[in-house]
């Protein structure tokens, strides 16, 4: 059998990996802050709402689906995807003082978070698509709608 190995040792230097832009900490943090600013009123936003909207912002199709659900147009929005990255980002945001969690589990922006969002809004071109979509979505995705969706899980996926 022929020996194809050039030498005794092969040295491998791993090159840095690329990371998609929406998995960068600063980007996700900004997304979460924008979601809380635009779509959650004074009462605050639940974690699931953050997941749902954050996932929806990834492609235009998903954006349409969620908007349809919020406008009561579609009745077959059933798949809710949960992204652990959002959880990590929420932890970072809590630690950095951009959000705080109320006693009822809902999240709200702190003063720092609000300043952050204001600074983002000052730049006209920054995250334009996301901001436009979120201001269109506004308050339409209510916590009740989400509750009805999640309650389906309890009843349809649990078997005795």
């Amino acid at each position: 059998m022929k020996n194809y190995i050039i030498g005794d040792e092969i040295v491998f230097n791993p090159k840095p990996d690329a990371v998609p832009y929406n998995y960068r900490i600063s980007y996700k943090l900004a997304q979460i802050c924008l979601i809380l600013y635009n779509c959650c009123g004074r009462s605050g936003g639940s974690l699931i709402k953050l997941h749902m909207i954050s996932i929806a912002l990834s492609t235009t199709d998903d954006m349409k689906k969620l908007e349809g659900f919020a406008n009561n147009e579609r009745t077959h929005y059933t798949i809710v995807r949960l992204d652990p990255a959002v959880n990590h980002a929420v932890k970072y945001a809590l630690a950095d003082g951009l959000l705080f969690q109320q006693k009822n589990g809902l999240f709200r922006l702190t003063k720092k978070g609000k300043t952050y969002v204001k600074n983002i809004n000052k730049d006209f071109n920054l995250m334009k698509n996301e901001r436009d979509y979120l201001s269109r979505l506004a308050d339409k995705l209510t916590e009740e709608k989400i509750k009805t969706l999640t309650s389906l899980w309890r009843y349809s996926n649990v078997e005795d």
Binding site: P16, Y21, N22, R24, S26, Y27, A89, A95, N119
Partner: protein
Amino acid sequence: MLRINRLKIEIKTIEGVYGFDSMFKEGLNFIASEDNTCGKSSIIAAVYYCLGFEEIIGGRGEKVLTSVYKTSIEDGEQVLPVLESGAYLEISNGKEVITIYRSAKMEGRDNKLLTVYHSPIDDVGNPNVFCEDMYVHMPNSAVNRKGFHNYIEKFLHLELPLVPASDDVTRKLYLQLIFSGMFIEQKHGWADILSGMPILGIKDSKKRILEFILNLDTLENEKKKNELKSQENKIKRDWDSCLKELIVLANRESCELRSYPQNPIILSENDISKISMTKNNENIDVYIKLLREQYKELKLLKPKIIDNFDEIQNELSETENTIFRLENELTESKEMFNSENVSIEKLEKSLEIINSDIRNNKDAARLRDLGSELNLSTSKDLCPVCNQIIQDTLIPNRTDIEVMSIDENIRHLNAQKEMLQFAQNSHLQNKKILHDKITKLENSLFRLRNLAKSLRSDLYLTNDNMSESLVYKRIQLDTEINSLDKLLDFFSKQKSILKGLSEEWKSYLEAKSALPSKKFTQSDERKLISLRNYFIANLNKFGYKSILNLNQVEISRETYLPVIEGFDMKFDSSASDNIRAIWAFILALLQTSNEQAGNHPGVLIFDEPAQHSIVINDMREFFNSIIKLNGYNQIIVGITMKDSDTLHAINTLPLKSYNLIKIPNKAFRRSTNNS
């Protein structure tokens, strides 16, 4: 040469016109006041202002003028507001006399506007006097016809050179820079030699000014270098366009141009003969000859079919074979063309994706910056809780594999984008080549099919008829011969144009090598030596003491400023000696220019030369040197005769040797309506 004849300042108030009006003579002129703040600087500032040189005082427009022109003027106890003000300056270039009017405060008149009357001040209202409006401090006023400095340059018979500017273009050496070597103003002008020079974006401006004043040959060299540069560009452009025209025309006839020089070179006869035009790999002359022979043979053939039946059949089958081959080639080429198009589209889509990725990553970078403004630890790659270094990613990954930072990501994406664009460009080029090839093939197929058609119809016609294919072939050959002949004509014409350009190139190269590289010509050396000698003589006369052995002073060949042992002289001088050095140098420039035919306009203004407690004897020597200047020069000295020493120094000068303009307390007096 510039001579200031008369200055008339008018300040209009509600109580009447206040002003100043005085004549200046040749030689030494004193503008003397008995106390400070009498308005002497206002008067000298008016001279700068009317010539558009107020940048030497350090500003543009009326802001360099004192408040007496703009706000209010005192008359005894009264403080009168200024309604309008302006100044007339009468100057001469030795032959002609003009008056310049510039307003300092006037409603409805821009302060950048100067009116030039072609007459002395007394004739200004005369309707026969020609007057023109010009402007200063607008872009291009140094070269535009309506620019005042452009006019003054011509009036003074100065030829300002084009010099390199700081943004790599060439600009005209501005007049304000040159006059900063002649007009020394009171506040900044005495800091250093040529320190009042405004910053106007010229490279090595002090050096250029001195070169110009002394009329050094290096100035000529700069001019010549610029001319040669533009000549070189012109020849290159003509060469390029000549070749391009030829290649385009040749391509139309499916010919190729071979062995031609891309860039201008000196063409020998051999080189010219090497440039050849070929068609189907044969020299075009040979090809045309072949065609003519074919044509002759065709002429010999009898056109009637019956004689050519066999040949017609053979030719038809040959033509059909060629058509078949060309059609195959055409289909192949079209397939390749389509696949190139598909690749280009795919690359376009990928480029879109990459562009949006780059945008999003740039957004992420911007967000990170906003975060660090708010002091978020995550923006600094630190964990907010334990302050450990974290990677900028939300995807859990092994800690020993590094992750790219946002900036690296952006760089990476940009590199990818460049690569894709490069690939897309090469596909576009291929597409273009294929397109040309397809067009050529289609043309040949068109001709061949026509030929086949006429051959076929010949075969089926009755035997007595004219052979259509023969006629068709003859016409084809005829047209081809004609167009190739025209091409050949054009080719020889272009060759002679190239030969002409090659001659021009040769003379350009000769002129370029004739330029001296950096050494000074003999006359330059003489001028610099004379400058040094005058300078040292002046220093001696004025009592310069900081350097013991003045013979060690040299004029630097790099900066044309005085140095001692390689160091600038001012480092060794005391403050008052610095003043003496400035007197000595400015005067030496004038003296050298007078002796050696330099470009000095022959006028100097010294505003308060008695700085830093200068010894009065030295001042007297200064005045004496001025009086002794040979040549027609005009020196204006603004001086405060506060102490008896100065008064004495002036009074002991020979009576007719100076012109004393005394400024009374408060320079501006109520003037009568006629003056």
